[in-house]
Each structure stands twice: as structure tokens, then as C-alpha cells.
Symmetry: C2
Subunit: 263 residues, 2 copies
Amino acid sequence: MQSVRDSAATTTASSHRKQAGRAPVVPTFSPLYRQIKALITRSLRDGDWKPGEAIPSEQMLARRYGVSQGTVRKAIDELAAEHLLVRRQGRGTFVASHNEARAQFRFLRLRPDEGEPAQPESRILECRRLRAPAEIARLLRTRPGETAVLIRRLLAFANTPTVLDEIWLAGGRFRGLTAERLSAYRGPMYGLFEAEFGTRMIRCEERIRAVAADGSVADALDVPLGHPLLLVDRLSYTYNDVAVEVRRGYCVTSGFHFFNELL
Amino acid sequence: MQSVRDSAATTTASSHRKQAGRAPVVPTFSPLYRQIKALITRSLRDGDWKPGEAIPSEQMLARRYGVSQGTVRKAIDELAAEHLLVRRQGRGTFVASHNEARAQFRFLRLRPDEGEPAQPESRILECRRLRAPAEIARLLRTRPGETAVLIRRLLAFANTPTVLDEIWLAGGRFRGLTAERLSAYRGPMYGLFEAEFGTRMIRCEERIRAVAADGSVADALDVPLGHPLLLVDRLSYTYNDVAVEVRRGYCVTSGFHFFNELL
DNA sequence: TAGTGGTCTAGACCACGTG
DNA sequence: ACGTGGTCTAGACCACTAT
């Protein structure tokens, strides 16, 4: 067992003890608990512990890393705040998963105006591999022409078509993804991605606009030409701020709205 | 000086020590640091410390409340996470304010597609007191017919009219608010509210839809009739989850977008 | 009863900002 | 040099869950 303090890593990601030399322009100081946090994050990214599973207890991690329980605790606190881990008193700390009730609506903000948030039915229209257009490649930070997965799907609430999505995924991470597997999966798409492709969506940026429905979109969503739609452009990231999904959604907001909370 | 532990409040908001009696259906257990948090929140609500000012140091608060510094620290941690307080290492802990660079864009999510987020110019079209319509009264949880303040204003980025807002405020909190004071104020409207009316906006819920511009809106925003607009319905709360503002905004999203981050 | 996370304390020392 | 928040430790005990 090798502690953080004694490890070679201490040289680069220095301990919290006094650091020699002049004050750097950009402070490189990294407290111990953040180094522990980075180690845990790496284990999560590498799949050492799978979504839904418990990670080792705080005491065990403290011994493993050679720090106090309080320090491990602070690292886990931050990871829990970022929804990478979920604490359950008396049971343990678990790797967060999109296949759980609590996570269902974190990335699905469209809700019916009346009644409870509901899970829409998904119909896969298309799923194929092809060369990423320049714009997609730029956002995914891959070389232009790199292969990507394109998914087109329709979401419906109670048989009302509501969202038309066009989704681009980084090709390397999703080999073997097909329309059949997407259609067969019970649960949210991000749940499939994390369970079967080892890629977990951590956070998204969304840019929202209002647009008029053009021919093909109006057709798919069963609204008149020119009908106002919400255009939601999403960029999703996994561990280490790596962009892996570009998504464009057209949403009907008659009877539905996009819910957002500013905290 | 009276400590939390000895105070009468301990009877109701019990300490963390063993609580007698059977396990209640809804656990009423409230840890010490949350009681401290509630005390600090009350001081904030009551204006004991004003926005922008420093609150007493952790050591002083610990002595005042008769607990350890670590417990005060944990209370402040949560308040800082909720943006009620701002910590500044080496200087102290400060009451958050909307009149600060860091807070400028937390409640203003509309951004230019290109370039940095910018502060729009505001033109007040109207500001008057009148009886709240039933729907507004319901949302503000006041009696129907209670007086409210109605503000209508236009936001423009670089002389491009972009947002038309209709804002309803709980009447009792904003006596003496006029179009003149709104126009004269340098800085965001929420900054005026907190500085001159003692009401600080803490969090908002927003419901977003796409709609077609009708006559009057199209006119004010200088867009064609039927132009797609973002309709943003906002409900804002101050301390203790009290709703104090209902706002409806129509946003032009040509050259602009609504930015949202899912964390 | 045992094990986990949750709370609280007391003390030492570090990093940062200001005199 | 001083005061502030920030980090780290060690230990005690509480609340919750499973067995």
C-alpha cells in the first residue's frame, strides 16, 4: 500500500506542507484533499468502481491513501456535490448512475405544464456511423472527418411527439452502438452509455433559442410549418471535461415547458 | 451572551445530543450546524449585516453561539454554496450582493452568440402600483386584489432591443419604487432591490417556452409579427422561500441565446 | 451487533491579504 | 506582524442500515 504523501506524485502535485521557492504567478497550490479527489475521480473514470456500486468506506480509503478520514471526507463531499458520488447514511458511498430515480430528471428539463414530470417514450429514427462534419468535430475536439455516431430520435409524452433530437457522439467511445440496442434499452439513453460503453455524462452546457419549424421538423413533430419551437443545443462532458456528445433538440412547448432553476 | 446550547430554542430545535422518545415518522433531527445556519440566515434576512459587508469572523461567531469554529464553518459552507455569503481568504466572509461583478450573470442568462456576456441597457417603460390580478396574487401568495408593483421595461444589447419584461413585485416590500428611481439606478435591478428595499433575491424558478410574437410585443422588440420568441416565466424568492417577484420576459434570440449549465 | 456515513470538538499549522 | 479563512489531524460519539 502506498500513501499519497510518500508517492512520487507528491513531487508534482505537492502536499499541503510548506512549498519552497518564490510565489508563482498562478498559484499551483493544491490541498491534500484535492489530490485525493483526483485519485478517486481517476478510479471512477477508469471504471474501478461501476455506476451503482459502493466505493470503499471512508476509513478504508483513508488508510489506502495514508491520510485522515476527514481529508477523504472532504474529497468525497465535493464529488457528491458534483453528482459523481451519492452518499447513503448507514450504507456507504455509491457511484452515481443515470439508471436511478433520483437522476432521471437532471438532464431532462422538459416537463408537462400540468401534472408530474414524466418519462417520455423514445423512438429511434436513425443510428449510423459517419464522418463528423467540421462543426461537430470542432466541438468534440477531434480531427475533422473523424468518425462519429449520429442518432436521430423522437421523444413523445403520452403519444404526443414533443422533441426531435439529433445527437452526435464521439465515435471511438461508442463502437457497436446500433438503433436496435438503443430501442431495446429500458431506461434513459445516458444509462445505456454508462452501463454498456463506460462513458458517463457528467455535465452539460445548453444554448437555447426560439425558432420557427421548417418543413422536415414540422413534419416529424406534427406541427404547422413555422410553428415556434425551442431549439436546444447541448454539449455534454464526461470526466476531465472531455466533450463527448453534441445534441440539437427541437421542442414543442404547447402543453410543455423547459424548467430551469437558478440557485 | 447566550449560547445556542443553553437557549430556549434548544427545546424546539433540539441539539444533536441524544433525543429521547420514539423515532418520529418525519425525522425532526436537526444538527447543530443547521441551527447555526438558521441563526445566520435570520440575521441576513433581518439586515443585521448588509449586502457587501463582512460578517463577524468564524471565531467570533463560534464564541457568540457557544459552539466550535468547525461547526460555524460548516454552516457558512452551506450558505456560501447557496450564494448567500461569499468567502474571501485572508479578508473575511461577506454578505453576497447583486452589485458585484461575480453576481452579474447569475440571473441574466441571455448572452450574445459571439463575444463576452454583456450588460444590457435598460429602458423603463412603465412603473405603477395596482391591484394584483388573481394569477399574480396566487403566485405571490397574497390575497387577490392586494396591491402590487408592475414594471414594464425593455433591455437592449448595443442598441438592439432584445428583451421585453413585465415584472410584478409584492407591493408591501417596494413602497416608493418609481420609474425614476429604476432609471436612475446604476447597476442591476436586483441590486436596487437589495440596497434600497432590503429585499434580496435568492433563487428563481424559470419556465421557458417558444411563442410567436403578437402585435404589441413585436412592435416593442422591432421584429415581424409571428417572429419566434423565447417566453421566460420567472418566479423569484427571497429568504425563507418567500415568493416576491413574478416576471414574464419575451426574448429575441437572433444573435442571442439563453445559456444554461446542467451540473 | 457491527459497519457506514454524519456531527462535533480542540488544536496545530498554512495561505492570503492588509497594515 | 496580525487576523482571516483554509487545511489537516485524532478522537469521540450519534444516526442509520443491514444482519
